[in-house]
Each structure stands twice: as structure tokens, then as C-alpha cells.
Symmetry: C2
Subunit: 340 residues, 2 copies
């Protein structure tokens, strides 16, 4: 098992990336290839005691920033750590983790790793940390969708939740503006029909925005525009409320005492809402596992993302994705034959 890591992407790279990777290498039965500026990466590997027998460093000095155009990863900056890393994954790696430019990771993965033939588009999935983890896809990559894209994501997402999160019969929900079948845009109404008819999808119906926090489903299917807005609203609300609590607790001597009495519980609450406990955002539909770790990932978040990548790679999810892809290819051929 060889996990390729982009050592240079993310707000706290390369320090926190190498730190998290070193911890992962110590704790798990994996090899890690760190891709980045070796002049900076090597000393950090020393600092964090990276087990030498589990480490390879591949040099890449072109820097891809958060502001760069996504396509730069396959064009003008193709030798950045992300570009080099994705090509390594394609050749011989088992999984790839990056905390860098999300658009570039999606574009680069789509063009270098490629979705399975038969799968329309890879989605970026986010694990929402509610009562139970909820895999929401697509959370931003695809703003123009068809009902079949969503149907594919429902199947692939279910495989992911079964294999990586151990959910026996993943419930699939469709994000909408009402629970009734007829609610939603035309695309959502058609998608509802497809999901309802699919015998292998455990479809529980439409899910309203206010229901998500109760984790009524294990897989929440939506288009990339709605998914991204939803994800960002959740983040914004969490940040607002925790920010307000912090202000309140600092307000007076009395409230500071209150804080001391509540300290552990508040920390527990914050941790509950920390999605990085589950790792990063998996790209779903590609022929190899790619994880987008949060831009501001610290060592622990990177550790979790690597653990997630390893689990993704070793539980045979990719083989199951290929089975789904094969089913869609067969369906397309049958439709083509029928129309002759």
C-alpha cells in the first residue's frame, strides 16, 4: 500500500503535512511517498521522526497556489507537487491525498486518473459530521447535472459508506425544497423517479435542508451548486455560533467561571462538529482513490485523511465502482442496440 501525499498543498504545508504523514506512517502498515520541495521536506521528515523504511520523497518545486486556475495542474504548472503526485498515483500509487487547490485537484484527477468509462463525472463528496456521518455529493465540482449523474452518485456513494463507514444498507436521500415527490426543480423531480425505481438503491425520499442535521440518510445526493452552498452555510453557521459562544464566555468574571465549568463539554461539542475527524473529502467515481483534505488541515487532519485514503484503497471500493460503471456501459450499449 503506497499512499502518495502532496506535501506542498494547504495553508500549513509542508510542516503539518509531513507531521501528519509521519504519524500515519508510524501507526499504519503503509508506505508514503511525499511529493514536494525536498529541501524543505527532508528536514521536516527528520524533525518528525518519519520511519525511513516507509518513506519516499519525490522532488517537485513548481508551486501551485490557491489562486491558480485549476487547469494549471495539467498545463503551465504540471510539475507542481499535485501534478507529479497524480501522475505517480496513475502509474503505481494506491491513493492520493492533497490539501491544495480543490478545483485543480478535481480537474487534475478527472484528466489524469479519469473516471471509469460509463461514469459521467466524478463528484467531490463531503462527510457531514452529524449524529451519524452523512456523505453529501456532489459538494461543488459539477454545477450542471443530469438525473443520471445523481443516480450514479447515489450508487457510488452507497458503496463508499458501506465499505469505508461500515453502513450495512446505506440510506440515500435527495436534497430538495420539500419532502413531497413533486417538489423540486425538474431535474430533481426526475432524479426522484430514478432513485425510487432503482432496486439496488435504498432510497428514503427527499430530504429538506432542516432535516440534514438529524442524519436521516447516509448518502445525500445533490447537484454541485446546491451542495456547495449547503456545505458553506453549515460551515458558516457553525463558525458563527461557536464564535458567539466564545464572546459570551469572555464577557465577564461570571461567564469565565461558567466557561471553566463547561470547558470539557464545549471542547467535545467542537470536536463533534469537526469533519476532519473523518478525514477529507473523497473524490467519488475515479479509478483510484483521491482525497481532498481541508485547506487548513493540521497534522491530525492529515493523519485522518491518510487513514481514510488507506481504507478507501484496501476495502475494494474501487472494484465495486468499476462494477457500477460496467453496468452503465452495458445499459448504454443495450440502448444503442435497441435504437438501431
Amino acid at each position: 500500500m503506497n499512499i502518495i501525499i502532496d506535501a506542498m498543498g494547504g495553508d500549513h504545508a509542508p510542516e503539518e503535512i509531513v507531521h501528519g504523514a509521519a504519524d500515519a506512517a508510524k501507526a499504519m502498515d503503509i508506505k508514503i511517498t511525499l511529493v514536494g520541495d525536498s529541501a524543505r521536506v527532508e528536514p521536516l521528515c527528520e524533525k518528525y521522526g518519519f520511519p525511513k523504511d516507509k518513506l519516499e520523497i519525490v522532488h517537485a518545486d513548481t508551486v501551485l497556489t490557491m489562486e491558480d486556475d485549476p487547469m494549471a495542474v495539467v498545463r503551465s504548472k504540471k510539475d507542481c507537487s499535485m501534478g507529479v503526485g497524480l501522475r505517480l498515483l496513475k502509474e503505481s500509487g494506491d491513493a492520493f491525498v492533497s490539501a491544495g487547490n480543490t478545483g485543480a485537484l478535481h480537474a487534475g484527477s478527472t484528466l489524469i486518473i479519469r473516471p471509469f468509462k460509463g461514469i459521467h463525472r466524478p463528484a467531490i463528496a463531503t462527510v457531514l459530521p452529524f449524529a451519524r456521518p452523512v456523505l453529501m455529493l456532489d459538494s461543488g465540482a459539477n454545477t450542471n447535472v443530469t438525473p443520471e449523474y445523481l443516480e450514479q452518485w447515489a450508487r457510488l456513494g452507497s458503496i463508499y459508506m458501506k465499505n469505508i463507514h461500515g453502513v450495512k444498507n446505506p440510506r440515500v436521500g435527495l436534497l430538495s425544497n420539500g419532502t413531497e415527490e413533486h417538489k423540486g426543480t425538474e431535474i430533481m423531480v426526475q432524479t426522484h423517479k430514478l432513485l425510487k425505481e432503482a432496486e439496488d438503491i435504498n432510497f428514503i425520499g427527499n430530504v429538506e435542508g432542516s432535516m440534514i442535521t438529524d442524519a436521516p440518510c447516509d448518502v445525500l445526493v445533490t447537484d454541485g451548486f446546491t451542495g456547495n452552498v449547503t456545505l458553506k452555510v453549515i460551515e458558516g453557521m457553525g463558525k458563527l455560533l461557536f464564535g458567539k459562544l466564545k464572546t459570551m464566555y469572555s464577557a465577564s468574571a461570571g461567564s469565565k467561571v461558567a466557561y471553566l465549568l463547561m470547558k470539557d463539554q464545549l471542547r467535545g461539542l467542537k470536536k463533534e462538529f469537526d469533519s476532519t475527524e473523518y478525514g477529507g473529502a473523497p473524490l467519488i467515481g475515479l479509478s483510484k482513490p483521491v482525497i481532498k483534505a481541508h485547506g487548513n488541515s493540521n497534522a491530525r487532519a492529515i493523519y485522518n485523511a491518510i487513514k481514510q485514503a488507506a481504507t478507501f484503497a484496501k476495502t475494494g471500493s474501487i472494484d465495486k465502482f468499476e462494477e457500477v460503471a460496467a453496468m452503465y456501459r452495458a445499459k448504454k450499449e443495450a440502448a444503442a442496440d435497441a435504437s438501431k
Copy 2:
């Protein structure tokens, strides 16, 4: 000023509706027409000391439920309190408030009160209670939109915020999955162009979901599907976090002490997030003011909704909406002439 009130719509009707209306009548220079089952409404008016010189009761005994099809308000149940109330508004009323079936209120208002000629569709707007109030529209009525619908809502929403909330030069934002101009669905990209080009719209650009809580704009424009999901996610997150706080505070003797020390601040925090402090959801684009009060409105929420309705009616917003409508009619005629 005669405000028509649906006395029977809402979870706590007619009691809380009559209570709130009585308080409003005592405090404001308005007359109120309560529409509903007079056998139940009259005794409540006595109970809450409704000033008799400011009161009229119009009987309506057909009951419209939350499960009824929206079109029932103009068909099978047209003599329900909402239907009768909307027809009264059309005839002679100055504004209408209902906490009943939202779909029915939207359908009924559209068919009975009607948008101004030239305005495509009325929107349901929600006042989001952040650092400054943010008027988000459309929050659910229209899932299929064109860029011009959104452009109209931007103009009408700005008038509303100027007149009812006293905002001098309302900033307009477009909800999207990224701040860059090219981000979003095709409709959003086109809408961005329209808003940018409009000289009379103070367009501040795209707003991401995580930015809303900072109130970066006074008017947030979006389609009804995205708006509804956003609104519901905000509600769900608020409920989740306050619920968790409640659980935490009840957990032990120590945390109960902490609660006592923080009681006032927590209550203040909850109130901050209570959108009913601003009233209800105004329908924007109709030729008369209609307010949808929250389904679970208590007396205070109804009081606020009536205050909002009165302000809406008396500040000349409707006249300004008509000016905007006239501009679109002229634009349409000019386009028709040009194509001859």
C-alpha cells in the same frame, strides 16, 4: 390603515393570532379585520381586550390545513379564512397577514392579488437575522427561474430594505458556489452580468454560503430551490446547536451552575437568532403587501408581523414596486417595437 388577518392559519391559531392582533391594535394606529370562525374568535377578542373601535370580524368557517393542496385556496376551499382574507385585501384592505399554508398563500396571492404587470413572479422573501438583517429572496416559491426574475427581485428587494429597514443604499449579493464571476450555474452567471450592468442596483458580487452569516449584503438574491434549502439548513443548524447547548447545560450540577451564570446571555443569543423579531416573510412583487408569518407564530411573532405589514403598507413601497414594473413593461414594449 386596515390590516386583514387570517385568524385561523398557524399552529397556535386562533388564540395566539387574536392575542397578537389585540396587542398590535392597542399599540398602533391601525384597524384590524380578523377573518375566521367568529364563534371562536369573538370570545378571544374579549379575553385579550381587543379595542372594539379598531376591530372587525369577518366570518369564515371552511378550514384550510397545512396538508391541503395550495390551489384549494382558490378552488374547493375558497371560503377559508385565507381565501376570504385575500379577497378582502384585494377589495379594500391595506395589507394581509397569515401564518397558514405557505403554498396556498403564495398561490392565492398570485391569483387574487396578482403581481404588477411586468413583474414575472412574486417571491417569498425571508429576513435572515444576522449582524444586520439580510433579505433573502426567493426562499421557496419559484424553483424555475430566469436571470430576469432574479434581476427584478434584486430591485424590489432593495426597495423593501430601503423603506422597511431604512437601509440607504441596499447592497445586493448573488448566492453562488464561489465569489469569482464565472462561478455558478449558467443562470447564475447570466444573472451576475445583469446585476453588474444595472446602474440602479448596488451589486456587491457573488456571496458564498459561508459568507451569509457576516451579512455582506442587505439583499441576497437566489432561486427558490437554493433559497429554500439555504433557509432550512440555517434553521436546522440553529436548532441543532441550541439543542446541544441545552443538553450540555443540563448534564451535571456544575453545568447547571454554569447555565445560571450564563442565562441572560444565552437568552439574548437565542433572541438574536429569532427571525420573528423582524416579523414574517414578505411576499415581494404583489400589488398589495402580504406577509407570511411563521407557522408556529406566537402572539409576539404575530404582533411583529402586523407591525411589519403596516410599515410595508404605509412607506410607499408598493408605489415604488409599480415604478419598477412600469420600467419592465416599457423595456418589453421597446424590445417588441425594435423587433418589428
